[in-house]
């Protein structure tokens, strides 16, 4: 098993993700790309700023990926990369890549990682609108998340 967990301030390159995931023993790669949309809840979005606590975020990514390996197979290879800073519409904010022998565990692990990432990672999103306004989006409280993955790890699939 291997896990790559990164917070980056430069654009995420597809070739890097592909290279990281490829290996002759993997028959399946599943790559989720999250992108900045031009619209949210009826407002025209021009750009998004991601504020990130890098050390804690990378630690959280690793914990989540380890949980995925525990649940769906220790031979999985998981890559999690999240952008920090200001992103234009269409730019990639997050990548979750899973390589595995077969596709079933790739789909399950990929979904697990992205869902957990969204509710547990110390990352915040500020939308910049066409009208010049900006807003920090509401999110998931981390209260109850003390001792890291306690909440998620106790809830079995």
């Amino acid at each position: 098993m291997t896990v790559l967990a990164r917070v980056v301030s430069e654009p995420i390159r597809a070739e890097l993700v592909a290279a990281e995931l490829s290996s002759p023993q993997y028959g399946a790669q599943l790559v989720f790309w999250g992108l900045v949309r031009d619209e949210n809840e009826g407002k025209r979005v021009h750009a998004v700023s991601y504020d990130v606590h890098p050390a804690l975020a990378e630690k959280t990514f690793r914990e989540i990926a380890e949980e995925a390996l525990e649940r769906y197979g220790r031979q999985l290879h998981v890559v999690v990369i999240h952008r920090a800073g200001r992103l234009a519409v269409g730019e990639v904010s997050v990548v979750v890549g899973v390589a595995s022998g077969h596709r079933d565990e790739a789909y399950q692990a990929s979904r697990y990682v992205i869902e957990q990432l969204k509710t547990r990672s110390p990352i915040w999103k500020q939308e910049h609108y066409a009208d010049g306004d900006s807003e920090w989006l509401l999110g998931h409280s981390l209260r109850g998340e003390a001792q890291g993955h306690a909440t998620a790890a106790s809830e079995k699939p």
Binding site: D51, L117, S121, P122, W136, G139, H140, L142, E145, A146
Partner: protein
């Protein structure tokens, strides 16, 4: 006294200098009490804080983990660095 630097993230960046806030508490203060001190410090700030529900929904963390409310801080040191983490929405 224990000097605490709290790094601000997300919606907290609207307050203080947008980066961090510093205040002092007695040694052995709980995380939960530090949260109250943080509120007071933010309310004293240049851009004054008036969002107690946000603070209530937030957690304090060091560079390694989220801190439990009952934990005591500052054993053997004079200065610590924390972060206040409001509700998250990565992805």
């Amino acid at each position: 006294m224990l000097r605490i630097d709290v790094r601000l993230f997300g919606a907290f960046r609207k307050y203080s200098n947008g980066s961090e806030v510093t205040f002092e508490v007695p040694h052995g203060t709980t995380v939960s009490a530090v949260r109250k001190h943080l509120g007071d410090a933010l309310r004293r700030g240049a851009a004054a804080f008036a969002d107690q529900p946000l603070l209530d929904a937030s957690v304090l963390a060091d560079d390694n983990e989220i801190l439990d409310d009952a934990q005591l801080l500052g054993c053997g040191v004079d200065r610590i660095s924390l972060a206040i983490l409001p509700p998250v929405c990565g992805g």
